[in-house]
């Protein structure tokens, strides 16, 4: 990677500051992971509940380094042809049609099948060369000049077979294509894999990765995130709303509100010109935070307790 990138990733502190300037407030641990990923040339396997900024981490890193982000969304049934490379069949077919005449010329005068085949052989594997190769995200990331950030999103949704496919790419940063040979990464890409833990990732893959678990942030960190993302919310409301969300996370919910939901909620409150948390308004906007009817009900029942310990809520008007 170029000099500028090297400087950006020179130390954990630099990364932390860099992320902050890109609007991504992170804990020290996350910055450490990125630092190590770069230093050890290892991919990072990011785990954590949905909505804590796993994907955003890769986005921000790409922005920070000013390199393209190449994203591969995993799903069941994802295979080589979609992830790695594919031959451009139509182009191959078209060329054979167009070149039919040429082939005729070429083969004219050849006596017998053996000689014709011999002549054809001289042209080698024209139709299986790089011109006919359609690179998919993984190969694209390998061939990117100046490096790239490769995001393999929701790896837990893919099949086991696909994981094995990743092993060569993630440990040696190369791709083997039988017809062409091995393509090695020009610049080692920074790789992030995310997982929502719907199934266990194989040990072989885990062993090749740095393991980063992003939990829900602490209140202080979340306040900083809100300040950076929704700067117009004033300090007191910010403190209150973060405390409220933290209270919600303590409840037994189907899906606890994540950072992205806190941000959305902060934005909604801003739109509603709220300057403090009021019970009615919270009740009306609860659906921004909670996505299940059951959760909304059970949180609604305990709303007063959740809002209780912050008396300025009513006296602030």
């Amino acid at each position: 990677m170029h000099q500028q990138t090297l400087a950006q990733l020179a130390s954990v502190e630099r990364i932390e500051q860099g992320f902050e300037s890109c609007g991504y407030i992170c804990s020290r641990k996350i910055a450490t992971a990125v630092f190590l990923a770069f230093q050890l040339r290892k991919p990072v396997l990011v785990e954590g509940p949905p909505g804590v900024g796993k994907t955003e981490l890769a986005n921000t890193t790409a922005r920070l380094l000013d390199t393209p982000l190449i994203r591969l969304q995993c799903y069941e049934g994802l295979d080589e042809a979609k992830a790695l490379y594919e031959w451009k069949y139509s182009k191959q077919l078209l060329y054979t049609q167009v070149l039919k005449e040429q082939l005729g010329d070429l083969l004219r005068g050849a006596s017998g099948l053996a000689e014709s085949v011999e002549r054809l052989h001289r042209f080698g594997d024209i139709f299986y060369s790089e011109q006919f190769l359609e690179p998919r995200p993984l190969l694209k990331a390998m061939r990117q000049d100046g490096g790239a950030v490769l995001l393999i999103d929701e790896i837990d949704k893919s099949d086991y077979e696909f994981e094995s496919l990743l092993l060569e790419i993630l440990s040696d940063y190369q791709v083997s294509i039988p017809e062409i040979g091995t393509i090695k990464a020009r610049t080692t890409p920074l790789v992030f894999l995310t997982s929502n833990n719907t199934r266990d990732i194989s040990d072989a893959l885990k062993r090749r990765c740095l393991h980063l678990y992003i939990p829900f942030p602490s209140a202080a960190l979340e306040e900083r995130i809100i300040r950076s993302r929704v700067p117009d919310v004033d300090g007191r409301l910010r403190r209150q709303l973060v405390a409220f969300v933290h209270g919600l996370r303590q409840l037994d919910l189907k899906k606890a509100p994540a950072i992205s939901e806190t941000i959305d909620w902060a934005r909604s409150l801003l739109l509603l010109h709220a300057d403090s948390l009021e019970e009615d308004m919270v009740r009306d906007t609860l659906n921004v935070l909670l996505k299940f009817e059951d959760d909304i009900e059970s949180a609604g029942a305990q709303l007063r307790q959740l809002l209780g310990p912050s008396p300025p809520a009513s006296g602030g008007r």
Binding site: L40, R207, H211
Partner: protein, 467 residues
């Protein structure tokens, strides 16, 4: 430090974390990249390479705190004996040097050759000058020289403490104390206090090492023993430990075999899809599409005898069934003695201990294999197909009743496999009221199974053939 890190990784391994040599190398690379200066940074970095699950991370953090977390106490504070005032000649003096026990000692040593000699000893020097780093280094050296790492059981603690103290040269202090006592010297409590601090430090060090090393080793040892002990000989209080073992085993088996199930074989040509795909290429059949053959997932029906004659085994067999049902899809469990009933729901809805107790209560009694097989046939016979494995866990002691071999033959014909696991040793099969030899003729596979290791081997085989 390298040796330290290697040793730390060994500790992690003894706490049931799997750390491969490749990960050990990564850990070294991490320390090289991060340095040792920032402890928290190093901890996070190492956690990322060494811990692969949330569970492992918590083990890691615990071990890290124990291993690297020890901060030597400030000796100058603790060293100040409670009785210091009495010793001091001028307690009201504000001067720091006078209230400092170290200077008091040095003062006294000026005209005391024995004390001077004592102060010259390296260990005493570290104590008196409050050089914590040097002291903990000395303690570590002593730990290494006596092989503290080998500590395995708590009875060794005293022995190791003694040997480490000897290696540190505590005898000089001891001798000096005897001498000072004889002379009734005013600095006696000070020297005693230093001795106590040293002992405390060493004892702490031994304790920490014990917690690190022995806790893991003891558990490994226990597991090894438990998996070889006959199931009926395992005491009830180890049930939980066995449960963990069985669960781990079942999980391992499930992980190893779940992949086989997913394999899709290439089946017939899918003409419609092939033609549709060919449209893009001017009707040339460029790409052929195949219909996959997806293997039905194997179904397992497990029957467990819970009668009095196998009561001690039944507990563990049920435990095993419970764990199996937990990790494998499509397992149905049945319990029987005089009659038979399905306990799958019971298992799914209750925690393990409760479920086992309930199964015992509902289905315990005198054994009647004939009636139980009949019940089983009415309950599940039509669900048995060529992807079904039937496992029977029992001793085949039928109290001389009708064995209903015809029913088992039926099951044998329809099922992919019938497996009989008998806790009795093969020699006892067919003796007394055992119908095992007759039942055996209607099983694809029968085996003696009375410890966890055998159980694991058999189930592994079973899954291989059904997978």
């Amino acid at each position: 430090m390298q040796a330290n890190l290697v040793n730390f990784i060994r500790v992690l391994r003894s706490h049931e974390m799997r750390v491969s040599p490749a990960e050990t190398l990564d850990a070294f690379a991490v320390t090289a990249a991060l340095g040792y200066a920032d402890r928290d940074l190093l901890r996070d970095g190492l956690a990322m390479t060494l811990a692969k699950t949330a569970e492992e991370e918590s083990i890691f953090l615990q071990c890290f705190e124990r291993y690297f977390g020890h901060v030597p106490p400030d000796l100058s504070r603790t060293a100040l004996p409670p009785a210091a005032d009495r010793v001091m000649e001028a307690p009201d003096l504000e001067d720091d040097s006078a209230t400092d026990p170290a200077s008091t000692l040095r003062l006294a040593a000026r005209d005391d050759a024995a004390l001077r000699a004592l102060l010259a000893k390296p260990v005493m020097r570290d104590l008196v000058t409050n050089d914590r780093t040097e002291l903990s280094l000395a303690i570590n050296r002593a730990a290494q020289s006596v092989g503290l790492r080998q500590i395995e059981v708590f009875t060794q603690k005293g022995q190791f403490t003694r040997r480490m103290l000897d290696a540190l040269g505590e005898e000089h202090l001891r001798r000096a104390i005897i001498e000072l006592e004889r002379r009734d010297s005013p600095v006696l409590p000070l020297v005693q206090r230093y001795r106590d601090i040293l002992r405390e430090q060493v004892r702490d060090r031994v304790e920490r090492e014990y917690l690190l090393q022995a806790a893991g080793k003891t558990r490994q040892f226990m597991d090894a023993i438990l998996s070889q002990t006959r199931l009926n000989a395992i005491e009830h209080r180890y049930l939980h430990r066995v449960h963990d073992l069985v669960r781990k085993m079942a999980r391992k088996l499930a992980a190893r075999h779940s992949r086989r199930r997913r394999r899709v074989q290439r089946g017939q040509l899918d003409m419609a899809r092939t033609l549709r795909g060919a449209m893009a290429h001017d009707g040339v059949l460029f790409n052929t599409c195949w219909r996959g053959v997806r293997r039905n997932r194997p179904q397992i029906l497990a029957l467990c005898d819970v009668s009095g004659s196998v009561a001690a085994y039944a507990k563990f067999l049920l435990l095993f069934l419970y764990s199996l049902q937990d990790v494998l899809p499509k397992v149905r469990s049945f319990a029987f003695s005089s009659h038979l009933g399905e306990v799958s729901r019971l298992f799914a809805e209750n925690p393990v201990e409760k479920a086992i107790e309930l199964a015992h209560r509902q289905y315990g009694g005198a054994t009647d294999y004939g009636a139980s097989l009949r019940d089983f046939a009415t309950l599940a016979m039509r669900d048995i197909d060529r992807d079904t494995s039937v496992i029977i866990l029992g001793d085949a002691r039928n109290n001389r009743g009708d064995p209903r071999l015809d029913l088992l033959r039926d099951i044998h014909r329809r099922a992919r496999r019938v497996i009989w696991l008998n806790p009795e040793s093969r020699r006892a099969w067919g003796t007394g009221d055992s119908d095992m030899l007759r039942y055996q003729s209607a099983c694809h596979f029968s085996a003696e199974c009375n410890n966890l290791r055998q159980l694991e081997r058999i189930v592994d085989q079973l899954l291989k053939s059904t997978g």
